[in-house]
Every structure is written in structure tokens, then in C-alpha cells.
Amino acid sequence: MTSVSLPDARRRPLSLGRKPALLLLAVASWLAVTWLAGLRQGFTFLIGIGLGAVLAAVAFGFTTGWRVWLRNRDPTGILAQFLAIGAAMALSIPLLAAHPELAGAYGPISVSLLVGAFVFGAAMQVADGCGSGTLYKAGQGNPVSLAALPGFVAGSFVGALHLDRWLALGSLPPVSLPATLGALPALLLQAAVLALLAGWFWRRRQATGTRWRGRAVYVGALLLALLAVANLVVAGQPWGIVYGLGLWGAKIAAWAGMDLSGNAFWGREAQQAQIAAPVLDDVTSASNLGLLLGAFVAAGWRGTACPAMRVTGRQWLAASVAGLLLGYSSRLAFGCNVGAYFSGISTGSLHGWIWFAAAFAGSTVGVRLRAKLGFSG
């Protein structure tokens, strides 16, 4: 009797390749969210996956973009941010003018905005991540961002809890530039300011390509803009991050027996309903969860997930405290780099511009603090 050996392929255990498995995970998660929470939430989750994948794929960094300017006078990251904001603005402002059912990111002009944005700008340099940066790097398995994220959640919750007391220090109502000047004048004015700022940074450059080379970061910026506009069309509100993280904190606090019904922020009818409803019903949470997964998939695809890092005890502590400050300060500032800077400016809110100025000033302090704490990069 002769023995017959099977071909190699038949003897191999059944296994799915890494990339198909990652795609399957993304599609299955999207279908699960759609099945559980409905089409709108499913689409929002899918947009979040796209945002996370783009951010991770081109290492798009709001924090790093500012840092490479402050350290090397390399404007690439800042120019990519302006391109993303400008492209999103060119579509969002006309959409908002034509569709009153859509809402912009209009925050008040307040003392808390100045304080919050300044502190956020400093803390984001220490944690090496802003709102979107902390989320996408946590999705990639970056230990510093993973250490910062729980504090970010707690800080966002507590910041919203204290927001009325901060507003009592002084505030003016939100200013929507399209409502004040008209959609087209506001669009042209903001485009002119972005172009002037871009020209100012470009003329003072001392280097390019120290962090990003080639066109990828600009392609990424345009993709982010399209996805942010898709978020506005699907969710009815601009892309945001911090509110969702605070809601997760509020839910945990409510589970622990904390009564939030008397609070000026979490006691609002809409917020009470969201604390009681599944987290998948909240559009900001759905896009946040999608963003985490998209970054995980992109990092797994490129084989860059879970980077090995040497982190000292002092750096762990600094990352955790910075996370807490990021969350708290971004609630005082009515958003982080996404909700206030990106979405605020791209929907014509004056508070977005003020956020940019105050956070940039904070980053100049944060970059020095980062060097003192011994963080690299």
C-alpha cells in the first residue's frame, strides 16, 4: 500500500490572513453597530473608521504639526491642517446655510475658552496627542496614549460638570460668522485669513519635510475634510470627540450611583436622555469608537501596532495627568482641536479662531515642558 501525501496547502491549518481578518473585523463591527443602533449610527461609525484609518495612515497630527513648527520652523503640518479646515469649510458653510436642520460648532466666547484652550495646547504637547491624536494613537496601541485616555474621559466628564461655574467668570454668546456676515462673506473672509496665515508660516519656514514628506499628508487632509463633511451630513452636527468621552464618564458615574440630574450640564434633558440611552445611540461616541477601530485596522495593516517604547515612571504619571487636563480643559474650551479648532472654524464659529490662538500659545509652553520631562520627538 502506498502512502499519498497531501499537497502543502491542504495540510496547512485554516487561517485567515492578517489583512483580510482586519477588513472582516471592520465590516463585522460596522454591521453590528448598524444592526444594534440603526443606519445613521452605522454610517457615523463607518465615518469614524475612515477618520481613524486616515489619521493613522498618514500620521496626521495637530499636536505634532504645531510642534515641528515651534521646534524646526517646518510648516508642513500646519499647512495640511489649514488645507483640511479650508476644504471642510468650503463645503460645510454652504451646507449649513442651505439646511437649517444641520448645526454648526458654535461655542461661547468666554474666560473658560481662553483658559481651557491654553491649558489644552500645553497638555497636548506633553501627552503627544490632542483629541483625535490621543484616540487614534490609543487605537494603534501607543502606551502613552493608552495611559492618557482614561484621564481624558474622566477630565471631560468633570470639566462639563464644572462648566457652569467657569462660565460664571464671564462669557459672551456664541458668534456664528455666517449668521452675522452672511454665508458667502464669512466663507471668503475665513478663506482669506487661512491663506494669509498659511503665507505667513510659509515665508518664515526654515525647513520642510522634517516630519512629513511628499503629498500623503495633504491627501490625508483632504480625506479628513470629506469625512468631516460626511459626518455633518449624516449626524447633523460637525465632527467632535470630547463630548463623547465625557458622556462615557457620565455613564460610569451614573452607574456608580452619582445623581447628575441637578447638574447644569449633565442634568439637561438631552444629556439625561443620552446617559440613559445606549452609548451607540450617541453620534459622537459612534464616531469615536469607529475612529479607534479605524486606527487599529490601519496600524495592523501596516504592521505598526503597539510600538515598543521605553517610558519612565515620571513619564507615565505625566501622560496620565496630561490626559486628565486634556479632558477637563477641552470642556472649558467647548471642544478640542477637532470640536473647536477644526469644526469650529470650518463651520464659521468665532470661538474656533480664539481657540486656535490660545491653544497655540499654550503649545509654546507645552513644547518646553515636554523637553523637560524627557519625552522624545
Binding site: G38, L39, R40, F43, P100, E101, L102, A103, Y106, G107, G141, N142, P143, L146, A147, L149, L163, D164, P174, V233, V234, A235, G236, Q237, P238, G240, I241, V242, Y243, L247, K251, G262, N263, A264, F265, G267, R268, E269, A270, Q271, Q274, P278, V279, L280, D282, V283, T284, F296, P307, A308, M309, R310, T312, G313, R314, F334, G339, A340, S343, G344
Partner: protein
């Protein structure tokens, strides 16, 4: 002689695995707690644009109610 700070290799994969487990547990526990009160037939239309006034959701720019 100055003492060097104690370096620790970040156990990134373990931290990431714990993170994803905790996140999945949070979403699942939240769903099990809140879903029974949920009306499947009251879901919003797929797109907010063109679907009438949006419900009072949450965004980073939301302000607290005065006078509480």
C-alpha cells in the same frame, strides 16, 4: 552621582489588549443596561440632512442650562 530614572519597557500589546477588553465590556454592559428601554422603531432617518429639525443631541459646543 545622580540616579538615573528607572526605565520601563512599555508592555504595549498587553496594555492594548486590556484596553480593548475594557472598551468592549463597557459598550456591552451599557447596551445590556440601556437597550431594553430602546424603541427600535423610533430610530432617526439614515441622514440628518433633509430630515427635519435634529434632536437635541450632544456636541462639544453645548452649553449648560442657566439657573440650575
Amino acid at each position: 552621582m545622580t540616579q538615573q530614572p528607572k526605565d520601563r519597557n512599555a508592555p504595549a500589546a498587553t496594555m492594548a489588549a486590556i484596553f480593548w477588553l475594557l472598551l468592549a465590556a463597557f459598550v456591552a454592559a451599557d447596551w445590556l443596561r440601556a437597550a431594553p428601554q430602546r424603541n427600535r422603531f423610533d430610530e432617526p432617518p439614515p441622514l440628518a440632512v433633509g430630515s427635519g429639525p435634529a434632536g437635541g443631541g450632544g456636541h462639544c459646543a453645548v452649553v449648560p442650562v442657566k439657573g440650575r
